[in-house]
């Protein structure tokens, strides 16, 4: 079942770029990554899902219901953590959380205490007096306190120290195990890599790639580094599937995508001193997609 279905979603801001023809689905129970550089349209997409802004054309449904029409009903089961946290400054943390909880049809007081303990958050401070990171924690507790079925996170980790990030990820994984679907927007690839099963890459308002993280890593490219015993013909490895070929003396570096047996045969035919085959990390793949169209 699809928790989120986005079909040809387009949002224009006058002349400024919004998003064009964005389509993807998020399955129930998965952690879906949504990556792209700043200003690519991640937040625009998310704000449309929350019906903070309305699409120019196309549609988005959550839990099978149209976002615009059934907004309030849908939001009953959504937890949202915005990238920048702003709350009523003169309120105490606990008062804000209680205010937030008062919108939902369940008793959240226990969960508030629990979450605050996990995130090490002082409930009796004024929001005004909190540091950026602590405000983020308020945001996290606020987003999770009603045990939502769908958690939408917009660049959630900025401002959190590594220890808190770790705790936060564990919290998310726990919620996910309990059945929550998570949409994680980020430009920090390592966190997407750590948490997500599938990922959509957005660039300049368009989805340019949507795949499983594992597929992105496996199928696409392997990084080869070969140390030769003697110099070989520069064009020996120059065939289709090989990119970023770089020969420095006896060391050859390249990325390969395609049938692995083929490249292994090629290598076996020459004398080599050493061989490294590595998975490129997401960063490399990501950069690869970004640069491709430039």
């Amino acid at each position: 079942m699809n928790v989120i279905e986005i079909k040809n979603l387009t949002k224009n801001y006058g002349k400024a770029r919004g998003i064009t023809d964005v389509s993807f689905n998020v399955y129930e129970g998965e952690i879906f990554g949504f990556i792209g550089p700043n200003g690519a349209g991640k937040s625009t997409t998310i704000r449309t899902l929350l019906s903070l802004i309305y699409p120019t054309s196309g549609s988005a449904t959550i839990f099978g219901k149209d976002c615009k029409e059934f907004g309030p009903e849908i939001r009953q089961e959504i937890g949202y953590l915005p990238s920048e946290i702003f709350y009523y400054d003169n309120m105490k943390v606990i008062d804000l959380l209680k205010y937030s909880a008062s919108f939902y049809k369940k008793d959240c007081s226990k969960r508030i205490i629990e979450l605050a303990q996990i995130m090490d958050l002082d409930l009796n401070k004024k929001i005004d007096d909190l540091s950026f990171g602590n405000k983020k924690k308020v945001g996290i507790v606020q987003g999770l306190l009603h045990s939502p079925k769908l958690i939408i996170l917009d660049e959630p980790t900025s401002g959190l120290d590594p220890l808190m990030q770790q705790k936060f990820f564990e919290l998310l994984e726990e919620e996910n195990k309990k059945g929550a679907t998570i949409l994680l927007s980020s430009h920090i690839l390592s966190e997407v890599q750590r948490l997500c099963t599938r990922v959509a890459i957005i660039k300049e308002g368009k989805i340019i790639k949507l795949d499983k993280i594992s597929t992105l890593q496996e199928n696409n490219h392997k990084r080869f580094k070969i140390e030769m015993k003697s110099k070989i013909d520069e064009n020996y490895f120059n065939f289709s599937g090989v990119t970023n070929l770089d020969i420095k003396g006896n060391i050859i570096n390249f990325l390969f995508s395609g049938n692995i047996n083929f490249i292994m045969k090629k290598i076996s035919e020459i004398e080599i001193a050493n061989l490294w085959i590595e998975e490129p990390d997401l960063e490399e793949i990501f950069m690869h997609y970004y640069e491709k169209e430039d």
Partner: protein, 265 residues
């Protein structure tokens, strides 16, 4: 209900301050009445010395000034000015403060319709105004009965006093419309003070011309105290105009607020 209470709490302080100022104003003014009425004839002579346009623009009516109601209706102009600023501030800020403090994202991602948000805020603003008016009415009634030297019609006193609320309603509606139409209001005071004073000055100008049609332009001239004094009633056409304006403004506000994109900070 939660949003309504939240808003009430947020405006508690400012409502208390505004109410106190209005009460202080009426107490101060009316406490001058005994001294004034003793020397009424002398004052009348002085006032007759003023050119007529000046008297009219300040709302000074020589004949009625010596009675408590006449005196009250003169000072009441300044009460409505004060009250108008309160209402306009309230109207302009109650929606726009969420944009300014960047809390709109929080509020509108809760499971509520924008209509419900608007209604709660509107009701909270109305409640603030009602509370202000009740306290004002009570304290001005007491004060008037203390300083009055002869019998006066409490009905007329009440009718004049309650127009404070009617004028406030118009400015509240105007403020709300402005706050949903302007994408981002950086500061409320310049807008609310500017608008209220503009209408107040138009009001002074209209009073000197005596042109009835012009009175429709400014809320300050919808309820003419002298007319109420003479007829013990309001002018129906102005009441209809007021109701029409408020209905239009509030409907438009709901409509715009529903359709509006809420942009991130």
């Amino acid at each position: 209900m939660n949003m309504f209470l939240h808003e009430l709490k947020a405006y508690r302080k400012s409502t208390i301050i505004w109410t106190c100022s209005l009460v202080a104003l009426v107490v101060l003014f009316l406490s001058m009445f005994p001294a004034f009425s003793k020397e009424a004839t002398a004052f009348k002579e002085i006032m007759k010395g003023f050119p007529e346009p000046v008297r009219k623009s300040l709302g000074l009516s020589v004949d009625s000034m010596s009675s408590i109601l006449g005196f009250y209706s003169y000072m009441f102009l300044y009460t409505t000015l004060c009250g108008a600023i309160q209402a306009m501030n309230l109207g302009t800020s109650i929606i726009s403060k969420e944009v300014r403090a960047k809390t709109a994202d929080f509020l509108l991602t809760r499971p509520v319709t924008r209509g419900a948000v608007m209604t709660s805020k509107l009701m909270a603003a109305l409640t603030c105004l009602v509370i202000t008016n009740l306290i004002y009415l009570a304290s001005s009634s007491i004060m008037a009965s203390v300083v009055a030297t002869e019998k006066y019609s409490y009905k007329i006193f009440f009718m004049i006093s309650i127009t404070l609320f009617f004028v406030q309603l118009m400015f509240l509606a105007l403020g709300i419309v402005i706050s949903v139409l302007v994408p981002k209001i950086k500061s409320v005071l310049p807008i609310s003070l500017g608008t209220v004073f503009a209408f107040f000055i138009i009001g002074m100008f209209v009073a000197t011309t005596g042109d009835d049609a012009m009175r429709y332009i400014t809320p300050f001239k919808y309820f003419d105290a002298n007319y109420i004094l003479k007829n013990t009633s309001y002018e129906i056409s102005f009441i209809i105009t007021e109701i029409g304006f408020i209905a239009f403004a509030i409907t438009a506000s709901y409509f715009v607020y529903y359709k509006k994109d809420v942009h991130s900070a």
